[in-house]
């Protein structure tokens, strides 16, 4: 199974080598990759439908309990088949759609990377590896949305999508770590047994909210939905694959996967019902005002995702069955509608629904596919879509409280989705063919066969729902529910409320299709409300950030070295001062200090005088000379306090430094008083404050007990292990020899730098 997941990545990397081949005429051969994966996953159906769960574990980062463990059960099989199945069609479609495109190889690389990531996501049984794959899908989606990277709008949409889904990813990580800590394991399959402890723990609310954030941002729920319409800037195969059939379902998958673990609470149900409900209505209403085919499909996708979230929120067995069925239905019809839109766009050059009409004359097979897709989408019997819609109404009706609000919302949404399906799938093909489209001709088979395959599957499953039931739905439900009742998917449920609702849906939807004609006027109308849309608010916030950070940067990064240093020191003084004066008592234990002797006091006074002289002297030479005195005073101090090595080193270095200064000083400019007096005083005060704080800090540290562990080790072992008696030197050349080696390298670099600066002429400048 690892190979199955990695195959996409391997192919993506191998594009580097075989890119030319993939780009050429044989590009359709890349379809073999998802196709073989599809066959591989299909071969598991008999096992899975018997209720088996297949697990495989590969150790990845054992020290962090992170494993690549994969679990294939009903739920992941359903998603895997969807990913590889639609993947196969999209790969084939792409080879014709982007034929001869300059970056076709790159496109395939992103696409197969996404496929691998998505498979990894749905198969992962480990939260951390799931997170990694989750992020990989966001990243590959970023590249695919921004595929037309010469267009500003594309790049902007890609960034928005990455921003939103990336934020969701962070929330996911937070939730995953919290949950893993709480459960003591990162294996999802092991968490199911702990469900009660998890839901009753105090951090449950936080975990649930984090997972909600992750799922809602990925699955484009209100108010994070706005990245999805933007993502339609991607080439159509991408919209088909990522933004309707698979990636946006990742959030749904996450919610489904954690239903048995987190799902049994009031918070879970009510949040999902409300968010899902708002999203499905909000997006469905938006459909009416769109004229771009892809825009219509984008909003209807958001709305469908809302329905899915809503169903998970209901959480009854009926609702979850409806959810699984609707996932399949939606993948089938939405993917085909997108593919059809792609063909129309490819052949006529426009996606504007107000201009498209009568295309059935020239694109007959496509028109058939469109019509069937619209039927499935509208839930017209005997398609699979009808079963899906029926189940949704049933689930709503049987939930108990607030039935009519829930069912009313669902009904309105379904009516509008019916409308959307017909506008996208039927409208472009009927009516009078405009003269400008008369030259349109049927494209090659690789373009129109995939949507036909999908819709025929949708129709066939309507007649034999039992196929999907045993293979996918039943094993899927077993994963989601602790106890399941037997059920059967069927077209005919008898005369009941759900059937009446279905009839209403179809009737009102058809009516709407004839009454509501999409027009630019309506689109302009809705644009007026753009100001208060979540998208605009988020954009305004990000703009605000940019403005703020520009101001902030300009204030602090003004290009004056002094200013930086002063800011840093000032801030440091504030923090240091705050900590010292709030956390410590400032009394000192004088008994721990050693006595003053005349010699030491004399040396220190000499040093202080020399320092002051260095600072205030008007003459450079005098300043350098007093610097030397500071150094020699240090030398004496080291000698007093048992550091002969230091004294010798300081002495030699000080001599050399003074010689250096004197050698260079001729060429250096005279001291000038450059700063203003106010600034000098300001800096003086700042320096004195910082110096005083350092003094206090040193005194406080001296009051603390010494940790002499390292010292003792070195001292005890200097002779025994390293055969040396001068411990300082033993540390330098033996215990910490590598450090010394690197320090000598630093010295060499400095010497080479000096040599280079002086010996090598700065040629460009000299020529001037």
């Amino acid at each position: 199974m690892l190979i199955a997941v990695l195959l996409g990545f391997i192919f993506a990397i191998s594009i580097l080598v075989i890119g030319k081949f993939v780009k050429g005429k044989q590009s359709w051969l890349s379809t073999l990759i998802p196709l073989s994966l599809l066959a591989y996953f299909l071969s598991f159906i008999p096992q899975i439908s018997k209720g088996e769960i297949i697990q495989q574990t590969y150790s990845w980062i054992p020290s962090f309990n992170v494993e690549l463990s994969f679990q294939l059960d009903g739920l992941s099989l359903l998603f895997s088949l969807m990913i590889t199945g639609i993947g196969t069609l999209v790969f084939a479609y792409t080879s014709a759609y982007l034929k001869g495109h300059e970056f076709l190889d790159r496109f395939y690389a992103y696409l197969s990377m996404f496929m691998g990531a998505m498979l990894g996501l749905v198969l992962s049984d480990n939260l951390i590896s799931m997170f990694v794959f989750w992020e990989l899908t966001s990243i590959s989606s970023f590249y695919l949305i921004g595929f037309n990277n010469s267009s500003l709008a594309s790049r902007k949409s890609a960034l928005t999508a990455l921003g939103i889904t990336g934020m969701g990813g962070l929330l996911f990580l937070g939730g995953a770590v919290l949950l893993g800590e709480l459960a003591g394991t990162f294996q999802i399959s092991e968490m199911i047994g702990l469900a009660d402890e998890i839901t009753s723990s105090s951090s449950y609310v936080l975990i649930a909210v984090l997972f909600f954030g992750a799922a809602f941002s990925k699955s484009a729920q209100f108010p994070f939905h706005f990245w999805l319409p933007g993502a339609m800037k991607a080439p159509t195969p991408v919209s088909t694959y990522l933004h309707s059939a698979t990636m946006v379902k990742a959030g749904i998958f996450l919610l489904l996967r954690f239903t048995p673990i987190l799902g049994n609470t009031e918070l879970w149900h009510s949040t999902l019902i409300i968010v899902g409900g708002v999203t499905m209505l909000y997006a469905a209403i938006h459909i009416i005002f769109r004229t771009d085919l892809k825009g219509i499909l984008a909003y209807s996708t958001i709305s469908a995702l809302g329905i899915l979230v809503f169903l998970i929120g209901l959480g009854t067995q009926e609702a979850l069955i409806a959810c699984l069925v609707f996932i399949i239905v939606h993948a089938l019809y939405k993917a085909s509608l997108f593919l059809i839109t792609g063909i129309i766009d490819h052949e006529t050059g426009t996606r504007d629904i107000t201009q498209l009409a009568g295309l059935k004359k020239v694109l007959m097979p496509v028109a058939i596919a469109g019509f069937l897709a619209a039927l499935i989408s509208g839930g017209v019997p005997p398609t699979f879509g009808f079963i899906g819609k029926d189940l949704i109404y049933e689930a709503g009706l049987n939930w108990g409280s607030y039935t009519w609000i829930l069912v009313g919302g669902a009904l309105l949404t379904k009516i509008l989705l019916y409308y959307a399906g017909f506008v996208a799938g039927v409208k472009p093909f009927v009516g009078q063919l405009p003269t400008k489209f008369e030259n349109v001709h049927l494209p090659e088979k690789r373009l129109w066969i995939p949507p036909l395959v999908l819709v025929s599957l949708g129709v066939v499953l309507g007649f034999v729902p039992h196929l999907a039931e045993t293979a996918l739905i039943a094993p899927g439900i077993e994963v989601l529910m602790t106890s399941t009742e037997t059920f059967h998917l069927k077209l005919w449920h008898g005369f009941n409320t759900a059937l009446i609702l279905s009839v209403i849906t179809i009737a009102v939807g058809t009516l709407l299709y004839f009454v509501l004609i999409p027009s630019h006027k309506k689109e302009r109308f809705i644009e007026r409300f753009e100001v208060i849309s979540p998208k605009n608010i988020v954009l305004k916030i990000t703009e605000g950030f940019t403005v703020f950070s520009t101001l902030w940067t300009n204030f602090f990064q003004n290009g004056f070295l002094r200013h930086y240093v002063a800011t840093i020191i000032g801030f440091l003084s504030l923090v240091l001062g705050y900590i010292i004066f709030t956390n410590f008592d400032l009394s000192l234990d004088y008994s721990s200090f050693s006595d003053l002797t005349v010699y030491e006091v004399a040396i220190v006074l000499m040093m202080i005088t020399a320092i002051l002289f260095t600072v205030f002297s008007r003459s450079r030479l005098a300043a350098v000379a007093s610097m030397g005195i500071v150094g020699f005073a240090f030398c004496l101090l080291f000698l007093f306090y048992s550091a002969p090595d230091l004294a010798m080193t300081q002495f030699s270095v000080d001599t050399l430094t003074v010689i250096l200064f004197v050698l260079v000083l001729y060429r250096l400019p005279k001291y000038l008083k450059m700063s203003k007096n106010v600034l000098r005083i300001e800096h003086g005060v700042l320096s004195i404050i910082f110096g005083a704080l350092m003094t206090i800090l040193v005194l406080k540290v001296l009051q603390e007990p010494v940790n002499a562990e390292i010292t003792d080790y070195y001292a005890q072992n200097a002779y025994l292990l390293a055969k040396g008696k001068n411990v300082v030197n033993v540390i330098l050349v033996d215990f910490r020899g590598i450090d010394t080696l690197i320090e000598t390298c630093v010295l060499i670099v400095a010497a080479l730098g000096v040599f280079g600066l002086l010996k090598l002429r700065l040629k460009t400048r000299d020529k001037k």
């Binding site: 090595d645 250096l668 400019p669 320096s687 411990v727």
Partner: protein, 117 residues
């Protein structure tokens, strides 16, 4: 005695920072050296001061039997002194070179790009 040394550390820090904040490049280097000395003294003090007991194992024994000065800060400071020698010489040459090219010692003149100067 520690109090006096702690005050000296403070003075070295204050003097070093004051010099770094000046506009002259020569003063900047002097400030760096003073600050470096301050840091050395700080590290030295953290190892506590011990008089007349260098960290050298006596001739006749194999381990210490008496109190001794902490060798770890000493080793740190020893390398710090040598490294800062390298740093100082590099800084001095940099200033010299910059002065030769730009004919100014004023740091505020340096914050323009090549095109403007």
């Amino acid at each position: 005695m520690e109090i006096l040394l702690a005050i000296t550390t403070g003075i070295l820090y204050a003097a070093g920072i004051y010099m770094i904040l000046r506009r002259s490049m020569v003063k900047l280097i002097l400030g760096l050296i003073l600050l470096g000395n301050g840091v050395n003294l700080l590290i030295f003090l953290l190892g506590r001061i011990t008089k007349g007991k260098p960290p050298i194992i006596p001739e006749e024994t194999k381990v210490f039997e008496d109190l001794f000065a902490d060798p770890v800060p000493q080793a740190l400071i020893l390398t710090a002194i040598v490294i800062s020698f390298g740093l100082q010489s590099f800084a001095i040459i940099l200033v010299k070179r910059a002065y030769k090219v730009l004919k100014t010692d004023d740091l505020d003149q340096l914050n323009t790009t090549d095109e403007d100067s």
